[in-house]
Subunit: 420 residues, 2 copies
Amino acid sequence: MEKITVSIITIGDELLIGQVIDTNSAWMAQQLNKAGVWVHHRIAVGDVKEDIWQALDEEGKRSDVILITGGLGPTADDITKPLLCDYFGGKMVWHQPTLDHIMYLFEVVFKRTGPMLQRNLNQALVPDVCTVLSNVNGSAPGMLFEKDGKIFISMPGVPHEMKGIMHDHVLPLLKKRYQLPYIAHRTIITFGIGESLIAERIQGWEEALPPFIKLAYLPNYGMVRLRLTANGEKEMVDAKLEEAFTALKELVKHEMVTDEDIPMQEVIGRVLKQQGKTVSTAESCTGGYIAHLITLVPGSSAYFQGSVVSYDNSIKERVLGVQEETIQANGAVSEETVKEMVKGALGLMKTDYAVAVSGIMGPDGGTPEKPVGTVWIAVGNNANIEAKKLHFRFDRGRNIELTAMNALNILRLFMLKNEA
Amino acid sequence: MEKITVSIITIGDELLIGQVIDTNSAWMAQQLNKAGVWVHHRIAVGDVKEDIWQALDEEGKRSDVILITGGLGPTADDITKPLLCDYFGGKMVWHQPTLDHIMYLFEVVFKRTGPMLQRNLNQALVPDVCTVLSNVNGSAPGMLFEKDGKIFISMPGVPHEMKGIMHDHVLPLLKKRYQLPYIAHRTIITFGIGESLIAERIQGWEEALPPFIKLAYLPNYGMVRLRLTANGEKEMVDAKLEEAFTALKELVKHEMVTDEDIPMQEVIGRVLKQQGKTVSTAESCTGGYIAHLITLVPGSSAYFQGSVVSYDNSIKERVLGVQEETIQANGAVSEETVKEMVKGALGLMKTDYAVAVSGIMGPDGGTPEKPVGTVWIAVGNNANIEAKKLHFRFDRGRNIELTAMNALNILRLFMLKNEA
């Protein structure tokens, strides 16, 4: 079995001054990994000729396949294509199918009426030493070069264009050309327990793992993902991985959210579908973010009815029916208020479950009694409403994320308990 | 003036299999750039001894300062610290201030009652050849090494811990040790015009730019950020940059959202504050995401009252007062429905402006007349309600993002027009 190595080169000044976050590399690495290819090096360089040239040299020595994204746009800050042409010793020629595709995109898909710009047409100019990889989602094609037995593939940096080229060309090509090794992953997601405590609890299990199974801890917003990765001969890998995974699940069963690599909101959706129940949210400090997470899941309309974002107290009172006295006596961030918000949401949106949050996300608005980061979360159905106070110590964005994730987990636990 | 170069090395298998997105590098690059340091190389390697070692060798040759994040957690998958100790030829010793800090964190901040774990205490073990950089937000300290005139700094991968160490130690140290060059940026954000069209329009201006000013186009969700970067002698840079920036603003004035590098929701907030007006949202397909964006801005409670996420039609009718006949005759995704949603939001939440959206985000739910990606957006005040139909061609997440951004821009334009 031939083991291949991949490097990813991302090109663009915007990555090196931090104006954009590189999501492409993560997605590419995910897809490659699923296919049995281990990305072992990722680099980012600016729109600087010498740096790109050097990266091609270095990664060409390091890896079998070099995937390059970025630097192919129609504007003048992009220098990648002519550089690739020089690097691989070609000259620029017109590629008719790409030209046709660009005309089609502009006339039929974008329905642009004005004159076609030369800079758009120029995207059909490609080095004559490359194989063109068609880009159904955009005008800049992918380009495949070969040199000294290594494969270099250049793709645009626009995420959905890169993804299309990966699916249509790159992944099938790698599968066809190489005997890819077998890699398998299993993931458990826990909530509300730190990685140190998990590590302590599972130490004996971890030490007994066979050498071809690796464990990684990935903490994020109150969750820890425990990822097992194994590679080797398929039958043995599958059997041993399953065995290790089953034992690990037993060790963390009380904190386990799911034994699949899916987000919390998808777990919530599955529970609701299974129970045939509906949910609504009443949100103050999260400003609709919990509802947003729930509705990111395709098909969530089957169980999500709606939400009231009661940012101002008058909305809590007028729309959700929270008593004015409740807020006056206890404040908007209080057990009493969030419980009445749940009650209001259940009545207004006629759902089986409702979850409500109210808190102080910062940077301002804290008091000595209720400092920034104080949050009340309530969850309930028509029989029972429970509330919990939490405190976060981070910035506004992170406090909102943590509040939402905790609210979803509290909802999940309530649903599981109240169904039984 | 001494020009320094920085490399960022990010360590962790999770980056190379794509299970997490590297937001740390972007943030670090931003901060360094503001301070006048150009990051010219970024690499990611797995938790593999040889790869980390080689990265230290290569980046040590390439750059003056090498910043390393990740691989310092308390769990067994982290191999960075002993490796750094070997690489710089030291031995591990206890660092008392870190030990004291860990005790303080666990006893006072986390209020953990159980026994302290050895693996937590071990974070106070550091190579005797490093300078310890205290980490106020966590237990793993930063470590500074020097070798052959180069500086290597290792930090934990947890974002807020890394940020604390950057602020407290790394940035002040770089400013103190080096004469940093002067770098200035100016950014314009446009909405609703493609980068090719902008490039065409500003071509003459761009060609006349002095060589020390660079322009970059950063398209994202209907917006294009035009970023000017200049470096050199401060007085001249400032004068010439201002001149170029003023001319560019004039060229794109009709599409310009802002001449600062701030998100759309912050622009909206400023307009509302300036006008002394309030806003609410009525959201179907965006599921609260518009409200979430608005409330990400600190102080948004001054102008944002609330939102009704009317995911189910019954909520549109019962809470927002959309007529049952309106939905029956025109469908939930229609001009009539979104206009009634705006009217309902204005009445229910008593705001000066309201914005409403209804659409089909996919992957299911499309029909031949209303395919996936069809969206109606309405905006209005008590005098006037306008609606617009849009169509997006992407996946669910991207369609939601684009709908929200377009809704905010439509709100912005309406506010500017109706104030005059």
